[in-house]
Subunit: 275 residues, 2 copies
């Protein structure tokens, strides 16, 4: 029989985004171990904390392994209730707030639930508007709005342009358009004419032809579009055109959307398209 | 003269997502203080750590306030270099990894940069496919693909349906469609006929008419569409129809996209549309 997975609980009094991000980062440091991860969100009163405690305890008994709890709970009472579960409890708020309090000579205000809340109305509107911008300027429909873009992603089909634009919009409020390099663009040796006026906003995404072939094959198996020869040709041409035009080029072959987005941001900031 | 803002540096050896999330959460506990926040990403060698250290030191000298550094650095050397800056340095990896190591009887593997990397190809593909699904099923274009949806968000225009669908797709790989309730739908008393077959996948978003009025006014100032009377009528009708049909209803008035998304997830899981 395989070893049972170690039960892990990510417990938050609000969205769980902070604790999920931190907990997963720490667990990824132990890639050879198996974890069974549960996210418990909106644990914001004693009753919910007791229900969480009982679930944690039960998971420990069932697996025969002591559960691990990461929590971001502002209030001391639910934190104390979780501790009764017998799990290893790690809480960055409990750990870091005293040092911050001392350094800042200020008391923390229990702002539970507002970290990912509507704190700043302008910022919120900017993000929603940026999402609309990304949707309206997806897939090179038109270059009409490129003057308002913070960045225009270019590359052949299936290099990750659309999800990256949406991520930049949702998380950073950046207005990101995306423009595919189509077959006729790739036959030329220069940047397509409609893109030239926006050269200093362009950011190129490229990818290993073998991976592109796999991605496209999932979508349209056996098609010319997905063939390795076609992928090689397109990637080679696109890279040559973008390099010749001095467009920054990022190889996304083994990168996640998060990595692509955060690699692009400093570049956009340097070129001064962001306030 | 106003008090200078306290310099804060969020330093990561990869995307910065973990440290940004955690750092901002902790800073939000001190809402009355002013911070000047810098994110330093991909600080993944000693040279970059020295550059970061010098920037932190300079910010301290310029403001006359000791900087605060949150970092998520796997390697001990860059961490030691940052500490030379004289800032208050808080690092959840340095803090929590020893306890985890002891509990798990395992050594951490330095997996810098991979937390938000392409770790699981299937999971990655699922998220990208979910983004495509959200884009193809935005704004009620067609109900054809609703049988494959995990959830279908319904509500009047501008209640946050589209960004929520994209967030659910990008972060949780959920296939979320969105379907606006249009004027003709709101004249009836029942759920529109095309939605009835999917009743157990529907999730309603609603909003205070006053806030809807403000949001719509930014988009089309002075229009009938944005008028308070029209907003009141639409919201009232939509709520009555959704309640009568037994569709869960969430008031998004003061909620962020993150909060809406994470509130919907348990509901989707309970209804068994997610593996």
């Amino acid at each position: 029989m395989a070893n049972p997975s170690r039960p892990v609980f990510l417990v938050s009094d609000s969205t769980g985004i902070t604790v999920e991000t931190l907990g997963q980062s720490l667990l990824h440091q132990f890639p050879e171990l198996a974890f069974e991860v549960h996210v418990l969100r909106y644990v914001n009163d004693a009753q919910k904390a007791r229900a969480a405690r009982d679930r944690i305890r039960a998971a420990g008994e069932e697996s025969g392994l002591r559960p691990i709890v990461f929590s971001t709970l502002i209030e001391a009472e639910p934190r104390a209730i979780l501790a009764e579960s017998g799990a290893l409890c790690l809480d960055p708020f409990a750990t870091f707030l005293p040092a911050l309090q001392q350094e800042l000579h200020a008391r923390p205000h229990p702002a539970a639930g507002r970290t990912h809340g509507v704190i700043d109305d302008d910022d919120y509107t900017a993000r929603i508007e940026a999402v609309n911008f990304a949707l309206q300027n997806d897939d090179g429909v038109s270059t009409r709005h490129y003057p308002e873009a913070d960045v225009v992603l270019v590359g052949v089909s299936r290099t990750g342009k659309t999800p990256t634009c949406l991520y930049l919009a949702l998380h950073y409020g950046l207005r990101a358009a995306n423009h595919p390099l189509a077959e006729e663009d790739l036959d030329g040796e220069r940047l397509p004419a409609e893109l030239r006026p926006f050269r200093d906003k362009l950011f190129g995404l490229t990818i290993a032809p073998e991976r592109l072939h796999r991605i496209r094959s999932q979508r349209r198996p056996g098609s010319d579009y997905a063939s390795l020869a076609r992928c090689r040709h397109e990637v080679g041409q696109a890279e040559a055109i973008l390099r010749a035009a001095g467009v920054p080029l990022l190889d996304t072959t083994s990168m996640s959307v998060e990595e692509i987005a955060t690699t692009i941001i400093p570049n956009v900031e340097e070129r001064g398209h962001v306030k």
